[in-house]
């Protein structure tokens, strides 16, 4: 069965620090990979996605993620976080080739950025 692991439950950083949130998945076939963000009191929003092609994908607000197939990983990075990045971040995996909406989510990582 597919599963998604996010290694950190809560990350606390100061502004301008660099961020890396880990995400590993288990699925043997072709996958589509996503990072969603949920700001306090708001809905889930897509940060970035990977379907195929360049494994380094860039998303909104300066975020990027790298798909490393051999490690089954899709870590999220940002070189310099801001206070406004305080949110919960969810990694999600979908089966490639269809059923794109049936996503398996990780448990989420709460990011707190101190001003």
């Amino acid at each position: 069965a597919q599963s998604v692991s996010q290694h950190n439950h809560h990350v606390i950083l100061s502004e301008a620090a660099s961020l890396e949130l880990g995400c590993n998945y288990s699925y043997g076939g072709t996958v589509n990979l996503f990072w969603y963000v949920q700001y306090p009191g708001q809905h889930l929003q897509l940060l970035l996605k990977y379907f195929s092609g360049d494994p380094l994908v860039k998303g909104i607000k300066g975020f990027e993620a790298e798909f490393i197939k051999s490690k089954f990983s899709f870590n999220l990075r940002k070189p310099s976080v801001q206070w406004s990045d305080t949110a919960e971040y969810f990694c999600a995996v979908g089966r490639g080739g269809g059923s794109q909406g049936n996503l398996i989510f990780g448990k989420g990582t709460k990011l707190s950025v101190k001003p």
């Binding site: 708001q42 889930l44 794109q100 909406g101 049936n102 398996i104």
Partner: protein, 115 residues
Amino acid sequence: EPEVTQTPSHQVTQMGQEVILRCVPISNHLYFYWYRQILGQKVEFLVSFYNNEISEKSEIFDDQFSVERPDGSNFTLKIRSTKLEDSAMYFCASRGGSSYNSPLHFGNGTRLTVT
């Protein structure tokens, strides 16, 4: 930017009662989804809906659950006889059908509390 809207934002119900959670997907979208997130746990896929029928459902989506698109705009999730463990945040999502790469758009969620 068009949004997925969900009502109510918070629903409290007694165990054994029926509840209907309502969603208005983005108007030109064709694929509709329900997810739920039990407090402190991961976002879980419940069901996907396309062309007026369920296209995929998870193990969670048992006979107590049903979905309906009663008119051209609403997409509802019904729980026939609620249990305490149904308490969760329920998210509706929709996706346009024009592109395989089109992302999910989530609503703000309905918090269901079963007492």
